[in-house]
Symmetry: C2
Amino acid sequence: MHKIYFTPGPSKLYYTVEGHVKNALKSQVSSISHRSKQFENIYSHAVGQLRELLNVPGEFEIFFTSSATEVWERLIQNCVENSSFHLVNGAFSRRFYEISRDLGRDAVISEVEPGHCIDPSETNIPESVELIAVTQNETSTGVAQPLEDIYALKDQHPDKLMAVDAVSAVPYIDLDFNRIDSLFFSVQKGFGLPAGLGVWIINEKGIEKAKSMQRSGLSIGSYHSIPSFLSKSGRHQTPETPNVLGMYLLGKVAEDMLSKGITQIRKETEYKAALSYNLLENHPLMEPFVINPKYRSKTVIVAKTAIDSKKIIDKAGEKGMVIGSGYGQFKNKHLRIANFPTHSKEQFEMLADFLNEYSHE
Amino acid sequence: MHKIYFTPGPSKLYYTVEGHVKNALKSQVSSISHRSKQFENIYSHAVGQLRELLNVPGEFEIFFTSSATEVWERLIQNCVENSSFHLVNGAFSRRFYEISRDLGRDAVISEVEPGHCIDPSETNIPESVELIAVTQNETSTGVAQPLEDIYALKDQHPDKLMAVDAVSAVPYIDLDFNRIDSLFFSVQKGFGLPAGLGVWIINEKGIEKAKSMQRSGLSIGSYHSIPSFLSKSGRHQTPETPNVLGMYLLGKVAEDMLSKGITQIRKETEYKAALSYNLLENHPLMEPFVINPKYRSKTVIVAKTAIDSKKIIDKAGEKGMVIGSGYGQFKNKHLRIANFPTHSKEQFEMLADFLNEYSHE
């Protein structure tokens, strides 16, 4: 039986992916050279469609890594000589902070309890910090940092690089790239693609930082340093043999999303989120984990359950629906539900019906 | 028209891959959590099949990266504090050397002209070197370093780590892991899989080196440091959300190769190589680029052409066969032909017929 994955990444594949994979096999995409014209077309198609879908200005470059986890490392290596600052709302923003420490940087943390969100007016960012890391959508807790907070922080610190982890928020969020310096995500969440590809978008200021670190004789890595990416990206190529199939699929899905319309996708996301939070607010056994509605993620909905969440997950599984368990310490206390573009209104209504019926143990 | 890719990676997919991809879609492999039991089964299946196929002893760990290029970087980061030594036979072994330099190490090079192979008895490896890097099969020139050379070098330098890049030689080569410390490759060559996955095999001595560097307070990277890999590999998991589909396919293809039999695969590889070199030695317009038969790769066959090789490649293309062009400076002077397990004897005979007929401009 084909199950519906509501897990927050990997999740249900975008509904057009299966067809694209079959076409990729037919046209032998996985056999072509990554130095061929055919590959360059796949590369520039993916970049072009992403640029249009996410409204990325020309002064930003788009690079391909193997995961968003890799981008955490590359951002620190390339853009932080001494100190980074991390707004930590949960496990994934914490991991970004730890990577900066692993790389020997002076990483400064501003952390709140899970389910809460940092008020940027209460953070104290030292002058020496070079990069501010914000996880716009915390997949572990379902907390979302409002974009206005991010812009306000950038306004207060225009000299620092603003790096936004939007891993489970794209393509839903309508971001103004002119007010940040870097955005990154992986494809197995909002884009509904097989895992194994990360996307790193960064502007001239971030690129210049890497170049100046390199000029100072600092090591900024090797094949995936920004100058190494740039040495190939101008020709629509990558430094290594990349995940060609993943790049092909990303271009195709971004194109499909463009023809559906990003406004329509956003509207549907909001409808499904409203349906879900409304249900949770009125449910005898569940409530939204994030108390303040202003901080509730539209794309990763986390419910606190009065009973062992595994019971609910198992029951949903019997009906062909896979719901995510809580993250880490919340494993048996939460449900996590992805609300991505691939999840239809009808599928959410089916999920809502199931949850509404599940009103006692 | 379905073409036959004889290019040396990416190459023709292993003939069972298409079926496995379809099964992966059916069983929703790309939607499962990388922290689930289902994923752990995929992981341990891939490791188990590889271990059996390549005869990897228990004291070696098998890690998954995104490419062999990544392994170059991780090996230097994790296992070289000051100095690495590189036997350079072509463009790819040179790239490994450059990565060590990019990472600020003192990289020592012993280089020969393209098409030749270093005689290890003539190399002078400084005492301070911690790791010796050998590219067993140079995909750019078709030169293969005999395994006996590698074992001899290790015997002379038992204290140093011996790292073998076998990117386009596995699973053909029958390596004695007890006489090296690390082996690595990517999957889009001999395994005939879509690109986007590297395999890094390393023994206790290499692992201990990384741990001791970490204890000394040196940075050995972050999510893909050896200790970080180990913190997850014991549970058959990876630090990041990996290329799950690639790992699934690798396990399946390794299983297929095991049921075919590695002895049979090796025998067929040798038959196809003999056919090809015999043809080249008697051809009016081509000859083997590697003069000394002892150094000729069985898996990447490089021909020097008396005419512009593009003409031959274009003509082959019309017949549905894709032959690789020369690498770098040899672009229009060489043909590169992959002889991987997916290439059948019949396909090689067809290629030979074409090349034999192509006897004048």
